[in-house]
């Protein structure tokens, strides 16, 4: 009877044995084909493969987190230094996000690389909401997209509204020259009454605030100055310069755009690194948890196979004794 039981056990394990060479490479799915040839008991190979890959993932994400942390340190200093750049313009021209204009251009700043949490989705969500907010009869709204991630999301449903896309912004370290050339490009190719720049402002390592900066074209500045309100005091400023007021305002608007864009790009890069750091941190923590659970499964499987072998031996021995 013991032999019959043994034979039954053997039949149960038969599907697990497969006559194939051990050296073949296969993916570590939980399938019975991964048992090496000749194993006679429950094999821990499957679990071991999973543990190895999860451990590698944990190491990679930990390394990515440290890289992001060091990049964050470097760029945070520059972002904070550039914060003084847009303040004089807001002090002079005020901040008018609710200005009513015909031609709006939404400049969305995003990252090129992924694995940085939800900041790019947030920017795109806000851009789309802004589009809805500024839509109306004889109003037109266009997008200018900086960065691959926002482009991928916006192309899906707003492809015909995207005027210009720019990518590989961070190939070389960010500097004012590059951003001012970019701003020049945008100003030359896009007609606008108001530019709205959407980016993630770096508040702290774990918090990024979606922010919108508005830059008005010189004609709209004149219009708002005449209408009174926040810009009403602009007329009281004397214009020092040989050219007309319109030319100075034009130069001012262009300079304001390049300064605000520079700050926006730096802050967004900072937020990207911070978000990547926390995403990779939670990822390596999850991998650690998964590894713990797999280790328990591994030990259980291992102990079960040892117990089974013991049972086989002992029942075999007791069968021999008679």
């Amino acid at each position: 009877m013991a032999m019959a039981a043994l034979r039954r056990e053997g039949r149960r394990f038969a599907p697990l044995l497969s006559p194939r060479p051990i050296a073949a490479v296969r993916s570590s799915l939980v399938s019975e084909e991964d048992i090496p040839f000749g194993a006679r008991s429950i094999s821990t190979q499957v679990v071991r493969n999973r543990m190895k890959s999860v451990k590698n993932i944990q190491k990679i994400t930990k390394a990515m987190k440290m890289v992001a942390a060091s990049k964050l340190r470097a760029i945070q200093i520059r972002a904070e230094n550039s914060r003084g750049l847009w303040q004089p313009f807001t002090a002079l021209l005020g901040d008018t996000p609710s200005v009513d204009v015909k031609k709006n251009v939404i400049v969305t700043v995003s990252s090129d690389k992924g694995l940085c949490g939800g900041i790019n989705s947030t920017s795109v969500k806000i851009s789309k909401a802004l589009y809805k907010l500024n839509s109306g009869p004889d109003k037109e709204t266009k997008y200018v997209v900086l960065g691959e991630k926002a482009k991928a999301q916006l192309v899906r449903d707003s492809k015909k509204n995207i005027e210009l896309t720019i990518s590989e912004l961070q190939k070389n370290p960010l500097n004012y020259t590059q951003v001012s050339v970019l701003a020049d490009d945008i100003l030359k190719n896009v007609e606008f009454d108001a530019l709205r720049i959407i980016f993630n402002k770096f508040h702290s390592v774990v918090s990024f605030l979606p922010t919108m900066s508005t830059v008005l074209s010189p004609e709209i500045v004149e219009r708002e100055a005449e209408a009174g309100g926040k810009l009403g005091e602009l007329d009281s400023y004397e214009i020092e310069g040989g050219e007309t007021k319109a030319e100075i305002l034009q130069n001012l608007a262009e300079f304001q755009f390049s300064c605000v864009l520079f700050n926006a790009v730096l802050e967004n890069a900072c937020s990207e690194q911070g978000a990547r750091m926390s995403a990779m941190d939670s990822s390596s923590r999850n991998a650690g948890d998964m590894l713990d659970r797999l280790t328990l499964t591994y030990n259980r499987t291992r102990q079960a196979s040892i117990t089974t072998e013991l049972i086989e031996i002992i029942s075999g021995a007791s069968a021999l004794e008679g």
Partner: protein, 246 residues
Amino acid sequence: MSICSDPFLGWSLLSPQRSIFSTSQSLRPCESRAIPETPSSAMFRRATAALLRQPVLASARASARALSTDLPAAPTADSAFVEAWRKVTPNIEPPKTPLSFMQPRPPTPSSIPTKITVNFVLPYSSELSQKEVDMVIIPATTGQMGVLPGHVASIAELKPGVLSVHEGNDVTKYFISSGFAFIHGNSYADIIAVEAVPLDRIDAGLVQKGLAEFTQKLSSASTDLEKAEAQIGVDAHSALNSALTG
């Protein structure tokens, strides 16, 4: 002035500004549990601690100078925008606007103040921030303009030249590439330049060489673009020259 007309694009003024790092970091829920200190989390904590330590050193060194990069105590928001936003998309929080990140400026006082408050900013640093001085001389396109407390509000476009800041008996001189200067009615002056260098860091020999090179380029220029670029180079170098000699 177009943004691309600035030739001194390789210079950067190295004055790292350490601002007060906001200590209101809210730890994510999973970070608050007591876990054994792994090297990565220790490094993370050390990194944030290092960033937090810097303001203490900066304030000691800079003798409690207020920084224009500080976040304000009382953020404000544009209510019309927020309302319009809430009507269209009630589910998403409206984005913040620059107004909530800036300290409001004081109104125009009735009597002329004794000092003028200067903010001198560059893309890479805030050179002077809320500094109270007696007089500033800025190189506007119409010539050198002296700004005293109580100056009428004006917007001035700047050409390459020397900016000098007079405080009592000290005079600090910078050579700036182009930019803008706003003088407000409340005796606040904002000067924004693309590049600025203290005068003692300029090499006279290189200036002469550059001037000769650009003059030669100007005479041999064929297209309008080349002529414009060469002209800009000549203007800037001759301004540098006069700054060093004058």
